[in-house]
């Protein structure tokens, strides 16, 4: 099969549509959440609200997730903590520091940065894939989690799993020819971009937003964020 036309489609028009849909969808979601309510603030703040936001933000993004003993998730639900953490770590290191991905960033942004050697990326990608499988098994075996799970949540897992696993096959030349796997890989990345604003994967944006909001609320009440 000649994969070139499909490859050009997923690298061209489909990506174009996907990125615009992604931007428009995320803007829509953010505005919707922001407009939920800004009530007038009658209570005087006990601490600096901006300071509280910054502290909560830094603790939530940089410090907290990497200290297992302090983070309550680590003791209460170690599977979520370790599998979830390794999944995010592997995914972001692969997407941001893999040589092939940096070329994509470079084509989009106009500048690149140094990459990590392939074997390191490869192991991190494998760890991320295994972590995602662990999270899936946890989701279908944990009774409480199973009760909370709806069909879109399985789609979340699928749309993240497919780019990762096709990318892994691609680097190892497994099952299909390079360009076939490459085409499928980019196709699923496009689908993921379209899916993110429609789903809870949009947490990547709201995580930072809610961290800041909670930090401000804590500071107002005089609590340590």
């Amino acid at each position: 099969m000649n994969w070139v036309p499909l490859m050009e489609f997923v690298r061209g028009p489909l990506f174009y549509f996907a990125i615009l849909f992604f931007i428009a969808g995320m803007a829509y979601r953010l505005v919707n959440v922001l407009a939920l309510g800004w009530k007038k603030d009658y209570v005087p703040a006990k601490h600096n609200k901006l300071g509280g936001s910054i502290v909560a933000f830094l603790k939530g993004v940089i410090v907290w997730p990497f200290i297992p003993r302090i983070s309550q998730t680590a003791t209460r639900n170690p599977i979520i903590y370790f599998a979830g953490g390794l999944f995010h770590l592997g995914l972001f290191v692969t997407v941001l520091l893999g040589a092939a991905h940096i070329l994509v960033w470079k084509s989009l942004l106009g500048f690149g940065w140094p990459s990590l050697p392939l074997p390191i990326i490869d192991w991190l990608a494998a760890i991320a894939i295994i972590s995602l499988i662990v999270l899936f098994i946890n989701r279908i075996s944990n009774p409480v989690l199973k009760l909370l799970t709806r069909v879109p949540d399985y789609f979340n897992l699928l749309f993240v799993f497919m780019p990762m696993v096709t990318g892994f096959f691609l680097t190892h030349r497994l099952f299909l020819s390079y360009e076939a796997m490459f085409t499928i890989h980019v196709l699923f990345v496009d689908l993921l971009l379209i899916w993110i604003p429609l789903s809870r994967i949009s947490h990547f944006m709201f995580y930072f937003y809610s961290k800041a909001r909670y930090g401000a609320a804590f500071a107002q009440r005089g609590a340590r964020p």
Binding site: V4, L20, A24, A27, L108
Partner: protein
């Protein structure tokens, strides 16, 4: 102009003064380049002893004659000479002396004489928009191709233009150019892509046809598997640096001088199927990646439109500009804001009607 049609190749060679020893050397070499086992040398010798010459009619359409230039610089002078002078090339628009009506009648004569036996080699793409783009001797290129193809024993498309449309097909494709296989849909066209095609790939495919009497095994894009089964990346001499993550980042940095992988300079090796890395160019001297330039992917379909030559395979082909991105964000904000305003108004209205509307008890009164 033509040697005796019934002469076998050995007889033709003997007339040229080729000794038996040189003939056997040639046979071994031919078997080697065709990827045959050593035990198959006898088969090659027998084919050359029993078969008569394979006439080739070489047509050119929208091309640059680069593939012709390429085949005349084949690595193996004896084989090339054999192909050019003795086995093949009864009609070639660039290499023949004849011109005008003389050339046309030479073509007619070759077609008549070797009807059903000749190999048709096509170089260049075919314009479907207007035959005027490439009319030779008052004949439309498509008609001429179909006429010559009808009596051919095999059809070989050489170069990216004849196989996939090449440069003429690049956007905006003013001539509505197509490769041979898109035009001759009823035939099996052997595709030998490349810009130009590697000379040994061309000569060896013709030689394979001579020895085996059939086309070599082809892949999904009709390319002979013996030359196009692997990507350049699989055979690359810089592959070790790729695996170790050592890349040249510009054409003048330390990594480049140390011969590191050219992937970050846009090398298309991982998606390009060709024999450059093993056969090399200019009598086995070198090939682009060896000499320090990333692969352009010239043997892949639509390589002119496949992104910048220095951008790499993963580069996005259609990048939204700031205006499009801003427009999308604005659209999201407007729709989201509009819905929020509508929702809060709806809420207010509901609250209002709830306060205003008489209770059920009041209604009954």
């Amino acid at each position: 102009m033509f040697p005796d049609k019934n002469d076998t190749i050995v007889q033709v060679l003997e007339k040229r003064g080729v000794t038996r020893r040189d003939f056997l050397k040639l046979s071994v070499m031919l078997a080697g380049t065709l990827g045959l086992k050593y035990s198959s040398v006898g088969k090659v010798v027998r084919a050359l002893e029993t078969k008569s010459r394979v006439p080739v009619i070489w047509l050119e359409f929208q091309d640059c004659a680069g593939c012709t230039e390429s085949i005349t610089r084949s690595q193996n002078p004896t084989l090339t000479q054999l192909l050019l002078n003795d086995i093949a090339l009864d009609y070639h628009e660039t290499l023949m002396v004849a011109a005008g009506h003389q050339a046309e009648s030479a073509k007619e004569a070759a077609m008549e004489k070797y009807k059903g036996e000749y190999v048709l080699v096509v170089e260049g793409s075919l314009p479907l928009a207007n035959p005027g783009y490439c009319t030779v001797a008052g004949k439309a290129p498509i008609d001429e191709l179909q006429k010559v193809a009808a009596d051919a024993a095999a059809i070989i498309a050489v170069g990216n233009c004849a196989t996939f449309g090449g440069l003429p097909k690049a956007k905006p494709n003013p001539t509505d150019a197509y490769g041979v296989m898109d035009v001759l849909t009823d035939y099996t066209v052997i595709n030998l892509p490349g810009c130009p095609a590697i000379p040994e790939v061309m000569t060896n495919t013709i030689a394979y046809f001579l020895v085996e009497g059939s086309a070599p095994e082809l892949d999904a894009l009709n390319r002979p598997k013996m030359f196009y089964a692997q990507t350049l990346h699989d055979r690359c001499l810089r592959r070790g640096f790729y695996d170790a993550g050592l890349y040249a980042k510009s054409f003048n940095d330390e990594g480049y001088r140390k011969g590191y992988c050219l992937y970050k300079l846009g090398c298309k090796g991982p998606t390009t199927y060709n024999a450059c890395a093993s056969l090399k160019w200019n009598q086995g001297t070198s090939w682009p990646v060896q000499s320090g330039h990333p692969c352009l992917g010239c043997s892949q379909p639509n390589f002119w439109d496949g992104g910048g030559f220095y951008e790499g395979q993963g580069a996005i082909l259609q990048k939204p500009g700031l205006a499009a991105l801003g427009g999308a964000a604005l659209a999201g904000i407007v729709v989201g804001g509009g819905l929020s305003v509508a929702n809060s108004r709806e809420k207010e209205r509901a609250k209002h009607t709830l306060e205003q509307s008489p209770s059920d008890e009041e209604k009954e009164e």
